[in-house]
Symmetry: C2
Amino acid sequence: MQNLPGFRDFPPEDCARRNYILNTWRSVARRYGFVEYDGPTLESVELYAKKNESGAEIMQQLYSFEDRGGRPVALRPEMTPTLARMVASREKQYKKPIKWFSSSTFFRYERQQKGRLREFIQLNCDLIGETGPAADAEVLALAIDLVRAFGFGPEDFVVRLSDRKAWMDFLTARGVPEAQFGTVLQAADKIERESPDSLNAKLAPAGLTVDDLKAFIASGSPESFRPLIEELTARGLAGYVEVDLSIVRGLAYYTGVVFEVFDRSKSMRALAGGGRYDDLIAGLSDGAANLSAMGFGMGDVVLANFVSETPKAAERMAAALAADAPVDIYVIIADATRRAEGLQTVQALRDAGWKADFSLAGAKVGKQFQTAEGLGAKFAVVVGGEWPEVKVKTLATRQEVQVPQSGLADWLKSGENSL
Amino acid sequence: MQNLPGFRDFPPEDCARRNYILNTWRSVARRYGFVEYDGPTLESVELYAKKNESGAEIMQQLYSFEDRGGRPVALRPEMTPTLARMVASREKQYKKPIKWFSSSTFFRYERQQKGRLREFIQLNCDLIGETGPAADAEVLALAIDLVRAFGFGPEDFVVRLSDRKAWMDFLTARGVPEAQFGTVLQAADKIERESPDSLNAKLAPAGLTVDDLKAFIASGSPESFRPLIEELTARGLAGYVEVDLSIVRGLAYYTGVVFEVFDRSKSMRALAGGGRYDDLIAGLSDGAANLSAMGFGMGDVVLANFVSETPKAAERMAAALAADAPVDIYVIIADATRRAEGLQTVQALRDAGWKADFSLAGAKVGKQFQTAEGLGAKFAVVVGGEWPEVKVKTLATRQEVQVPQSGLADWLKSGENSL
């Protein structure tokens, strides 16, 4: 029996790496005052159909089916529609701005390739109910700090910053009919990947050429983003941002700043992407809630590759994982007649919050010490003839002391502090 | 737009309660030396068909469909088949016993009722590669401590303990053909819910009556579980266990101890259930791995009801949630010309690990203080004319001190310790 292609097993060593990413994300988002939410894994297909055009890639990749009650349902491919539904139905009970994050599992039937799986985890962060460069900067700063937290600096990654509004203004000034905007933006999105001839053919109905787009993209400068850049400069984060109008984002609903986060060498897919979508919540809620919003998603697959392929980040992760061994204290029952006292000691340590383990089968003492070392325990506590005292051995230094079992938890606490 | 029936939205206040349960589970399982694993949300239908008979309830409730590649797939309704697959393919790289836990999302198309949803979270804990009462006791103790950790004591819940082997011995001694075992166990499972006449009709082919089953159930005593009870007594946990042979568990694959955890008033469904299944991994892996195992599942829905309906447990949860406010420190920019310094201060606090927030829009100072209180911040840091010093106000006591911004993180750390 195999798992399905594009779906992952997480045995403990992989699960620890996954949790390192999730815990780091959660910790950074919370430092920004974002609070966690989540939604269902399964939603009605209609929720996604409403936001996306039927030809949209995301609808082609949907895991959709009829449930046993005949409802057309889908495994969630993205968080925004769920978020919009939740916010629209409850927004009156929350002070603005609403700062919410989630880290959930998503599903897309994609061709498998590096950085793309069919089930993946994505962090979603959204700031709702506030517009302007200060709000945009808060979200961008969070995206930057989420990557910084893994040990990356401005030499490693960059936020490429663009603005949908600048694109709209350009297209309007050039007399492009609004019906053509989508086609032009999609062509702009592919400007580095598709041939000029093919793109020019697509741009012809809009009266534009690839050279027109390139000229517009070249016109982008930090000057046009001055208030936003000033906010980031004050935070010491401006060095992570570059204006790049070639970033347009595929989706139709963005209304302002859009951005993508890339490794500097651009050898990978985007680490994160998002932007401002001031009309979407109103649209998805049939006008029930008219709330401006800016947010982004950051996937676990590309980030995990980036961490493991960058030595300083990989070492940082390895150190964090090593510091969190499965066991703190291994209780060694040196004398089978003291088994009850051994169990009592294990229970007392666990009740005190320690990760404690012991040999269920009652292995030989030497073997028990080996297991203690193998599990990465800091201390071995030997229960034997000295009862009601026990021997505590610090495994790294081989130092041994004898303490009353009743005082063990306190002794270990002080011992841990001195490590 | 609504979520599907039986599926939950988790707005922040609900997500915090969910996380309280998940974090408590994770913390207790880790104290027992269990390490976390996870598997895919979607699996091939075959994985479940292999373990369960086609008429089994779990197969009737399966969310199954064909994916875009024509594969029959299913949203996971249980963890054991995934666990067995993962362990069987990797067991040689792990020392025994393998102690693994996971907390994942599961899906069953059930009629909605209290304690039952269509998407739920379940903690699964399994100890693999070790038999005997010591291993059984370790798993039972974990189940007990997982419930104790929410503030429940022996007056609140009980583990009802039974043994499939005792049932098999009884049926064999009574000359019941093995083909009838399943029918008898299913009748025993319903002895409190179905009429004696109906049950007697089902038991007739096996040559048994309801009275025979009741006599056998009444014969169960702690004596027959002595080695297991001794292990629990040494841990101080025997008071949580009662022998009750009426517990049989629906599933066919159990081979030894089985148990269910109930609230004492029995007003709710089981909080957890499980048992020993020494042949299942070999069966699911076509003999590739022959590993004994014992484990259980604990769902989040019944437990959450139990916590919220038991005042002492609900208060404990409320205190834990209140201690984890969305914001530690609110930075008040008292003078718009000091915005850059305010942003710099916010960034420094977040970099130091504090949950820090501020007014994006630059609200009036009084309003900023109100927001600080509303978010539950411990401190307000006022950035204004005193720069490069800032005022720090402890919001609970209204005490105010002025400190250099460069020493702020240290001052707050000492302040927090003294709270």
